[in-house]
Chain length 341, copies 2
């Protein structure tokens, strides 16, 4: 028996009042007014947005549990200042905690962070602690480019990030490296910016020696690792040219890819070139691509079908669906064990 754990779900269907408050918050910041009061959102409001979307699709597609975080494209740390980001992150994370409270068997929380282009990571560290220790969250989404599409932040191997990594290690939580909406009109968010940022993140890790300093740090690169598995030979070759160890030891004890690749040949390639211990089932659902593939008649983002169809041994499939998520997210494993699962 395998639990089907989707490691990558966002609350893209959050109640309208929450989204409207964000708009009012940003408008107030821009006009120098006080932030409006956060609205009352009832449990029924939340149930309504979850049951007809994520929960419905989970049941239809046969997944058991989603590692759930605020909508990625609206994290938008480039909007406003750090105080704006802090309040927005708290509201978003609190909303995730309410979803988890209503459906503790089906959702587990991952937090967004109050990053801001000019801020250090002190606020993010505090919010991570709050979310893990007070809200019971099991990980975080770390934005490698809080400027929103011009890649002006230090690479992930820079010491700028180290205080945050230290807190992650202390709390024993992983991060998914996930950028947000693009404020660069040359970069479409889900079609260009996300995939580029994923690829860039991996190359930054190749160039550095981050996991020498943090041997237990765990990072998930979403969207199937960007371009990386497709160009696996290039990355193995570049590591060699840069006199780095082979990727298996240099990065792949610490870096994981999800299965958010929306066609069978892509997931086949992922499973062929990347060790199954490094692959976590994910769908990014309800997310980037919501339509039905005319070639298959199924939703593009029904990635469980692609993983089900993989020609890999049962123990590897179990690892992709469940085992790796329990290992990468030890706090998830603890929650599931406490639930008798």
């Amino acid at each position: 028996m395998t639990l089907i754990i989707d490691c990558h779900g966002h609350y893209t269907t959050a109640p309208e009042a929450h989204t409207a408050w964000r708009e009012a918050q940003v408008a107030a910041y821009r006009s120098g007014q006080l932030t409006p009061a956060y609205p009352d959102i009832s449990d029924d409001d939340i149930r309504d947005t979850i049951e007809k979307n994520q929960l419905k699709l989970l049941r239809e597609r046969g997944a058991d549990l989603t590692i759930f975080s605020p909508r990625a494209s609206t994290m938008a740390p480039h909007v406003g200042d750090e105080a704006v980001s802090l309040e927005w992150a708290r509201r978003c994370n609190d909303l995730i905690a309410r979803v988890v409270g209503l459906y503790p068997q089906t959702f587990v929380g991952v937090c967004m962070l109050p990053q801001s282009p000019k801020a250090d990571l002190a606020g993010s560290i505090a919010e991570l602690e709050r979310c893990v220790n007070e809200l019971g969250f099991i990980g975080c989404n770390l934005n490698s480019d809080p400027g929103g599409g011009h890649f002006q932040h230090p690479p992930l191997t820079d010491r700028y990030w180290y205080p945050f990594y230290e807190k992650m290690v202390e709390l024993d939580v992983p991060a998914m490296i996930h950028v947000s909406g693009s404020c660069n009109h040359a970069l479409h968010a889900t079609g260009a910016y996300y995939i580029a940022a994923d690829t860039i993140a991996f190359m930054q890790l190749i160039e550095g020696d981050l996991f020498k300093d943090f041997p237990t740090l765990r990072l998930i690169i979403p969207h199937g690792g960007g371009a990386v598995p497709y160009h696996w030979g290039r990355y193995r070759g570049l590591a060699d040219m840069l006199k780095k160890p082979a990727l298996a030891s240099h990065l792949m004890n610490n870096v994981f890819f999800d299965t958010c690749v929306y066609h069978q040949p892509g997931v086949d390639l992922l499973a062929k070139v990347i060790d199954s211990k490094n692959i976590l089932f994910g769908s990014e659902m309800v997310g980037a691509v919501r339509g039905i593939d005319p070639e298959t008649g199924f939703y593009f983002d029904d990635t469980k079908r692609y993983v089900d169809a993989l020609d890999v041994p049962a123990d590897q499939k179990h690892a992709i669906f469940e085992g790796n998520a329990r290992r990468v997210f030890p706090r998830l494993d603890a929650i599931l064990k406490a639930q008798g699962r």
Copy 2:
């Protein structure tokens, strides 16, 4: 009988005097001095750099002809101003013309352009005309991000680019969309910037309707199309969400990918999801990744081996190695026919 045409080769081994002149040119620009005189480079200097590198590898690997352009990473349009770029582009293109003159059976020229972050495309149009009409070149490398790694240029569908496209159509030459070295320390050139830029370019094309305005324009996205084939489902789905036609008609009469993907599973995926009429054999040789793959014992960038091993019908393989290059580069076809090939 199939000619093996490598659509993507750079003069990465240019004579030392040429490279030293570039350094002197940039130093002179920065210190406000006059540009030094361009050095004498003998035919033997050129033969020496070609015969022990590109020509040796072509022969060893069994290719017949390379579509050859100046080194991509040192085009560096973000260095200096437009006048600096113009002189550098002319010197580089003239050097390519000399290689072609020495080895007319083996090399055909493609030009770099004197782009500059703040310049319009008038200088690039003039240099393209010069290279095609006077030097016999058959195409160009067009840099979608001349700023060098922050993606601040208009998307490829913007009217900024239209005068250049008009000239391309008039001359009946294609462009390879190819960025240059990165001045962004977060983006490794060949491991992050190139692959990200390829992916971003394709998504820009999805969002626009460029080929409605230029139905005969032809663009090659190198490095196997960046992340695109691996995420082909995502791109098909995004085109659908954006209410665009299916990619086959929206883009794939005009967009082509090369085979610069440095392992067999990647090239297998490329050939599986992308119609063979859109794939051009390329190696990017001598280029980004120069080592030997310990898993195969062969050079990573010996991409002919991967294409040879493809399980596709002979007519499709002929198209990938020869037919598509003749179709995408009509001036190449004319040159080959004049040579009786």
